[in-house]
Symmetry: C2
Subunit: 399 residues, 2 copies
Amino acid sequence: MQRLFDLAEIGPIEGGGSRRLALTDEDKAGRDLVVTWMRDLGLEVSIDTIGNVVGTRSGRADLAPVMTGSHIDTVATGGIYDGNLGVLAGLEVIETLIDAGVETKHPLAVGFFTNEEGARFPPDMMGSLCYVGDMTPEEAMSVTNADGDSVGAELERIGYSGPTPCPGVVPHAFVELHIEQGPVLERSRVQIGAVDSVQGILWLEFTVTGQSNHAGTTPMSMRHDAANAAAEITVAARRITAEMGSNQVATVGSLRLHPDLVNVVAASAVLTVDIRNTDGALLADTEAQLLADVERIAAAEGVEISHRCLARFDPVVFDPKVVDLVESHAQGLGRTVMRMPSGAGHDAQIMARVCPSGMIFTPSVNGISHNPAEFTEPDDIIAGANVLLRTMVDLAGGD
Amino acid sequence: MQRLFDLAEIGPIEGGGSRRLALTDEDKAGRDLVVTWMRDLGLEVSIDTIGNVVGTRSGRADLAPVMTGSHIDTVATGGIYDGNLGVLAGLEVIETLIDAGVETKHPLAVGFFTNEEGARFPPDMMGSLCYVGDMTPEEAMSVTNADGDSVGAELERIGYSGPTPCPGVVPHAFVELHIEQGPVLERSRVQIGAVDSVQGILWLEFTVTGQSNHAGTTPMSMRHDAANAAAEITVAARRITAEMGSNQVATVGSLRLHPDLVNVVAASAVLTVDIRNTDGALLADTEAQLLADVERIAAAEGVEISHRCLARFDPVVFDPKVVDLVESHAQGLGRTVMRMPSGAGHDAQIMARVCPSGMIFTPSVNGISHNPAEFTEPDDIIAGANVLLRTMVDLAGGD
């Protein structure tokens, strides 16, 4: 708990949250602090070429490590638990084993991955994608954002482009503790989520090109209004989502107009749609329906609408053995537990591509996350950390 | 024509337009150039406390002047004719009368008013509002914008807060030459518009307050999405406008989301709706329908929506004698002419509150304005300037 509060003091924002966007000075300061804690625990710290940091405690045998971890970057208006909990609980697990003199057959590793949020540079989960070899560090470093910053330049600037190669060591298993960031556990009055799957995610960016014109003298019939087309895309995304029902969600989180003036018909608009579903087929169906609507909207308004995919992740099913271990250890500790999907993207879903993986969720009060009001009860955090400890020791062959 | 091109070289933008937002360095440079031209013509130049500049040529009698003029500030992506034409045609009229040795009984005055566009500071037509006494210079100077700039500070900075008091001298009559900024004259193949009225204008700013939350884990049913509410307001404004028909227009030109991130449900949105109609009753009806829809949208989305009025101008009917003079002098010059309303706001509608006023329109190619592609044929400009000359001399009692 103390490490959570100490890390939160880096990049504090009004309301008690944190702002440590990936590869900013705040991210560097957070990284430096966590690396210091890793070294204080005697871990061997490695930094790879894209800035992923892993601290390892050797095991009795020279085998692949059982790995845990998450991320310490945040969105612009983030809470103090998202990501940080999974990294710091990993350190707590190791410290507890050291204090208790418990050794494991497999080494234990705790990592934090670069730019999991994707809030400053797309795509999200960039670091873990590089770790498993599904994105090259070169591709990642060449990513630039609207402000003209590049991942490569920022990574160099904060001094976290390390010597360890990507892809990284393939773990024996990976398990990540994370807050739910949703309302399900709290509503169900359950303390532990044994996460068995992750929603598929699709980020689409639409660019609408209309014609800038005078807001008073241009008859409605002669308009090619990018703002109106953008609004209709937003409303269409909401309508399609309602019709799909079940786990389908869609969000227009970013929308920018140009010239963005009161009395000028917008010449262009750029907006993003974040679409998620645990069912890959329904996700593809939603995408197809939205793109069809966008074509109709473009034709009706007389504008051009292009789109590109900023991120696409298929739904993920976690390793049944790992999910079973999480569930049974939660029960063994006398905690309430339920199997559930994750509505958010997590590094564990990327690690699942190379090793048996799973996740442990703890409740989020009011389901709030990506918000300074994000909060998880200390007793829930303790429960999650203990389930993580039991699961890791079990996977690593502890005595 | 040469003065138009010379002034356009101050604040040039791609595509051949101009960017001289009110009270910027570009506005100052434009003002300095026009003042130099006024002095070269021997005009007595006055600058009032809000920065309105008037150049006067004395008449045979010490009477109220017959005034013309417009503005030289532009929107961010403006053309070179909007406003500038009316000011520079006034100088051309005076120069022509000097060359021809024509005196008038009433003095002749040419002015340009501060911040007609309202693109940098609301409301538009700020300078003429102060000139007629319907806004105090103190009110105007206290206006600040999103960037934290204030009218007073910027006016001082560019050195255009002058000694002449507001309200200013009440003219004997006011007539303004302006490009139509719409497609009607071109479509009708008519060269001169005798403007008999001006659309009423209403600018509403809506602030939507929802809840920032995670785009993946928040069920649609639990969302309070400011972006979705803003989109529904935009679509509602379009729908109401279509139902009203006739001259009704509505434009959402500015929309900003916060935090404006791909994977975060928007916590807040600020958008503007520009509503215009030549019929005051229909305008009020449109406003009432929109506000009723906004209430429904707020309730359905579970967000709070507040609004404020950034600008409100009732429809204006110009002085029949001035409109008749414009029409008859156009005919006398062998030009095609039609009576028409103005779809845009102009300083002349403010001056009409204190003296007999009217306007002369020249065609805009493709109806395009507030755009670098804004263009009016030289022969149309010459026609408009000659109608302005005849009308002013007639009103001023020329020999």
